[in-house]
């Protein structure tokens, strides 16, 4: 009974969690570093940044939201969301003029997937940091 009451206690407010989420999005692993999970934060930083850097060096293309038939919309909008989920890495590369057209070839194709996957992995890192900050996970 007492355990039940304990588990129903409200966690930290969204205002307290928002900085962790924002920092996790902007810099991969930074949410973990902020929460003093240094080892895990550094691993996330290296893995997501490494994935994104490989994508750039393979000259992968960035997605832009496009409308058209359903498949085109889903692929391009989903890809764009995946790209911007990398946070500062995406913003910096766009601000510094990275604009690779979508060209044929397996290396470019892998590069495009690396760029999107880096963002999706960062989303996983954000969720993990959120759960740690909310006290649901150590």
């Amino acid at each position: 009974m007492a355990k039940d009451k304990e588990s129903r206690q409200p966690g930290p407010s969204f205002g307290a969690l928002a900085p962790v989420l924002a920092l996790s999005w902007l810099i991969p692993g930074a949410g973990h570093l902020m929460l003093k999970r240094t080892g895990r934060g550094m691993l996330l930083l290296l893995a997501v940044t490494g994935m994104f850097a490989c994508g750039l060096m393979m000259r992968g293309a960035m997605f832009q939201p496009e409308s058209g038939d359903l498949l085109t919309t889903v692929i391009n909008t989903g890809g764009f969301i995946g790209d911007i989920a990398s946070g500062l890495l995406y913003l910096l590369s766009v601000w510094l003029g990275y604009n690779q057209p979508d060209t044929a070839g397996h290396v470019h194709d892998y590069g495009t997937k690396f760029l999107v996957t880096a963002g999706l992995l960062n989303v996983l890192a954000m969720v993990d940091a959120f759960e740690i900050a909310a006290g649901r996970k150590d």
Partner: protein, 61 residues
């Protein structure tokens, strides 16, 4: 920025490595479990990589 020109295998190796690290870090609750899960995911990627590679080779005739 230097340009990387990788084979399918090298690209798939890097993809598996980075993805396994993140999945290992975010999924489990103890460091030991994280390490085990990261290695497990990496091995799964490689089994799938070689399995699909052979399937495509044999299916191609």
């Amino acid at each position: 920025m230097p340009k990387m020109n990788l084979t399918h295998f090298e690209a798939a190796f890097l993809f598996s490595l980075f993805t396994s690290v993140v999945l290992g870090v975010v999924t489990k609750r103890t460091d030991r479990d994280r390490l085990h899960y990261g290695v497990y995911v990496f091995v799964c990627f490689f089994v799938a990589l070689f399995g699909l590679g052979w399937l495509m080779y044999l299916g191609h005739g």
